[in-house]
């Protein structure tokens, strides 16, 4: 079954998504989401390679591939977060 996740793209990456601030990706997990973004929008690859964080329903994930993404999940791509 196709599950389209809506992903919000932050401003400096919109050049890679034809200016769109939100794109749809066929994904039910974080791994599928990141793979789908790289396939559909190759311009995002440099940032994806540098690292991103993803906010799913207000909680931030970096690496956990199999975090589920529901149809109605809010998904926001962020620059990779780093702390001190």
């Amino acid at each position: 079954m196709t599950r389209m996740a809506k992903v919000q793209i932050f401003g400096s990456l919109r050049a890679a998504t034809d200016g769109k601030s939100e794109v749809e990706v066929d994904a039910s997990t974080l791994r599928e989401l990141l793979d789908g973004l790289a396939d559909s929008y190759p311009g995002l690859r440099p940032q994806l390679d540098r690292g991103v964080s993803v906010a799913i329903d207000g909680r931030i994930y970096n690496d956990s591939w199999f975090i589920p993404i529901r149809d109605d999940s809010e998904v926001v791509l962020l620059a990779r977060l780093k702390g001190g």
Partner: protein, 751 residues
């Protein structure tokens, strides 16, 4: 791992968590018994020293080490030529920062190192190394580095986000936000445009970097060092040296402060290389001047803000352009500053644009909520000026615009339940807010936001034969984690705190652990500790069931003992942890629990700070009179440590606001590499920092814990500046607010 719905958000009843037991490292530290980075020795140990560039920017034409190598007592000399290009490009800049390649990029950049039988011989050897430098033009100011004709540090390293035509020193551009700024500004009764500047400040940890490295001919290596993350040290050094991670065992010493600055390596790969070359253990200890010249201060910043507000205090739009220089390599925290600048507010129209800029300064390192304090200084100063201009209460204006559950954050996501409003209401009701002020005195408030992190975490909990508990974790204790882990284990097991001892294991004893950063340890390691204790409890219930001859499902753990439960369990007296431990050999062997997790999904954090200052109109000196921190801790495991985190962040922020700055001369040389000229606040400069801990449980943690280590440094820059501006009657937009700067502003009637 998903951590949603980990805990019931109703207050829980705790017996150990929330109390204030004595800290386990206290006696060792006050008696001098604690072993820090420089306190370890090994037989046959050599002394390692680094030769550093006297130029801010220079091509290294050649390095002649022959005379140094010929000196009696010198066992090894290394330069960049001794390091193969790392297979992992991710550590290329780290290596270049530890040992310069073709160019020295800042005053103090390492260009060679020696290992000798004594410090005296090593210093003589450094003088015998001949470096042929070709000095190059330099730039140390962020705005100057962005000029099209600025001296370029690197060519062609800008990433794809940087528009064509910008200075080659601009490495990246970040943009966040939503809505329509111009439309929002058009609805405002006043639009304020201001430019703000902050200087680079150092984390100011008291303990300099130090390590002892041993690399044997068979490839096995051991490293003792002061660090916030010995697994990070292992992985980074292994990548730089081209060895397997499993062959390098790193042990973390006690740590005399880090605050983010010890989340990377400086000496460690060099010490390992010197040991490999000499065949002897090598110890390296930085001087204070080396710490200031060549480790990571935070970024300096230049920020333009445009905010619109209606006369009743509603913010209609917020825009900021943030320019951070992060030293000689890409990676300033301007992305974090851009995301956090307006994060406390519920705004329909908000946008931030950040530029990451390189200059001829040491590579910045993380500093407590990296990037956020400068951004908060700019935005919170502008909001304060607008509020006061309309005659509005600055706390009311913040409450009017505060982000709440359901607010779309300025960096994108929608907030779950958050604690900002609670900190603001508590601040407004606090006696500090209504206390009278005298002549030349002012009061300022500011809010702050930080993300908080989780990450890879391992904990191993072992039940000893006498019924005490040892707990191994992999994160250096910089904020009291041994105490808080022991407390959470004791709470979960139902035993007294003093029956648990927590140790920091070396890299050979546990799996991968993320660095002690991002306010992650009490949250993530605490979560793993609780789960490890629960695993041990399950095993102990199983052992008791075996003894009683009943099904293990018919045994529960309560008040430190296994107890029969359920209709068919029968009547058996409870078996305590000690009783089960005593017969462990008879019931299957030693009992332990362990837990490994990537603890993602940590919750965000907010704070509000309030500060009174008094300005001497004749000298421009500022005295901090009263300071109160209001912050949500989720659940304070050991409230004294939480208060300490709140106080420490406030004090570091006061230093950043009033005194501390990296001062570079026209020659590009750091002018104040010592604690006499780089002045951090000391106890006699400060009042008692009062704290109010709010406890709004974090649903992502079994006990509701939220990280508290970083948020406390975000508001104070702005809170102090707002207070001084109130006291002096002039708006201060440039930090630090040093006496000469304030005096000049007072005399000119505005900054």
């Amino acid at each position: 791992m998903a951590l949603d719905s980990k805990t019931d958000t109703r207050p829980q009843q705790f017996k150990v968590v929330g109390t204030r037991p004595l800290r386990p490292d206290g006696i060792d530290k006050v008696t001098g018994r604690a072993r820090f980075g420089a306190d370890m020795s090994a037989p046959g140990m050599l002394v390692g020293l680094v030769l550093r560039s006297p130029h801010p920017h220079a091509r290294i034409r050649s390095i002649d080490t022959s005379a140094a190598e010929a000196l009696t007592g010198v066992h090894a000399v290394v330069t960049r030529a001794d390091f193969a290009p790392p297979a992992d490009p991710g550590v290329a800049d780290v290596l270049d920062n530890c040992m310069a390649g073709d160019k020295a990029l800042y005053d103090g950049h390492a260009v060679a190192a020696v290992a000798a039988i004594s410090g005296k011989v090593a210093r003589q050897a450094l003088k015998l190394i001949k470096v042929d430098y070709q000095p190059l033009p330099h730039v140390t100011d962020v705005d100057a580095a962005m000029a099209p004709d600025a001296p370029a540090l690197h060519e062609g390293r800008a990433d794809e986000t940087v528009p064509a035509g910008m200075s080659p020193n601009v490495m990246a551009r970040h943009e966040f936000g939503h809505g329509d700024i111009d439309a929002g500004l058009s609805q405002a009764d006043r639009v304020l445009e201001r430019s703000y500047r902050t200087e680079a400040t150092h984390q100011g940890y008291i303990e300099p970097h130090a390590c002892l490295a041993t690399m044997a001919p068979d490839g096995q290596a051991d490293l003792w060092c002061c660090t916030q993350g010995h697994y990070m040290v292992r992985n980074t050094c292994a990548a730089i040296l081209g060895i397997e991670q499993g062959q390098l065992r790193v042990t973390a010493s006690e740590i005399g402060g880090g605050f983010g600055g010890k989340t990377t390596v400086f000496l460690e790969p060099v010490a390992l290389k010197l040991s490999q070359k000499s065949g002897r253990p090598v110890k390296m200890v930085m001087s204070r001047a080396e710490v200031l010249r060549a480790t990571g201060p935070t970024a300096s910043s230049s920020i333009d803000v445009r905010i619109g507000m209606t006369r009743d205090g509603r913010i209609t739009a917020g825009f900021a352009e943030l320019r951070y220089q992060g030293g000689a390599y890409p990676g300033s925290p301007v992305d974090m500053g851009s995301m956090s600048a307006f994060a406390p507010y519920d705004l329909e129209n908000v946008r931030t644009v950040g530029f990451d800029v390189v200059t001829n300064r040491p590579k910045q390192a993380a500093y407590r909520a990296p990037g956020a304090p400068m951004a908060a200084f700019a935005v919170e100063s502008a909001i304060d000026e607008l509020a006061r201009g309309f005659g509005l209460d600055p706390l009311d204006v913040r409450l009017h615009n505060a982000a709440r559950e359901g607010t779309k954050a300025s960096y994108g996501p929608t907030y779950p339940a958050i604690g900002l409003e609670a900190t603001l209401r508590t601040a407004k009701d606090h006696p500090h807010w209504s206390a009278p002020l005298g002549p030349n005195q002012g009061r300022g408030v500011a809010c702050g936001f930080w993300f908080n992190f989780g990450g890879d975490t391992c904990v191993s909990l072992n039940i000893t034969p006498d019924g005490t508990v040892t707990l191994s974790e992999g994160n250096p204790d910089i904020g009291g984690s041994r105490a808080s882990m022991s407390m959470m284990a004791a709470e979960e097991l139902g035993i007294p705190y003093d029956r648990v001892r927590t140790v920091i294991a070396d890299t050979g004893s546990l799996g991968q652990n993320e660095v002690t950063d991002g306010s992650r340890v009490t949250f993530a390691v605490g979560l793993a500790t609780i789960e490890a204790a629960r695993a041990a409890k399950r095993e102990m219930c199983k052992r008791a069931a075996q003894v009683w001859g009943i099904d293990e499902d018919a045994v529960i753990w309560e008040d430190g003992a296994a107890r029969p439960a359920g209709p068919n369990a029968g009547q058996h007296p409870p078996m305590s942890l000690a009783e089960i431990a005593a017969i462990a050999s008879n019931t299957g062997g030693p009992i332990a629990g362990h837990f490994e997790v990537n603890a993602e999904g940590a919750g965000v954090s907010f704070a509000t700070h309030m500060v009174d200052t008094e300005v001497d109109p004749d000298t421009g000196a500022v005295k901090v009179l009263r300071y109160t921190v209001f912050q949500d801790a989720g659940k304070a495991v050991h409230p004294s440590y939480v208060e300490g985190q709140f106080q420490g962040g406030a004090v570091q922020g006061i230093g950043w606001a009033l005194n501390e700055e990296y001062i570079y001369g026209e020659d590009g040389i750091l002018q104040n590499p010592g604690f006499l000229d780089y002045r951090i606040p000391v106890a006699s400069d400060l009042p008692m920092i009062d704290t109010v801990i709010l406890e709004i449980p974090n649903p992502g943690h079994p006990y509701g814990v939220r990280g508290v280590g970083e948020t406390s440094i975000v508001p104070p820059l702005a809170a102090v500046a707002n207070s001084v501006s109130d006291a002096a009657g002039v708006r201060m937009t440039s930090l630090p607010i040093s006496p000469p700067k304030l005096l000049a502003a007072i005399r000119s009637g505005g900054s």
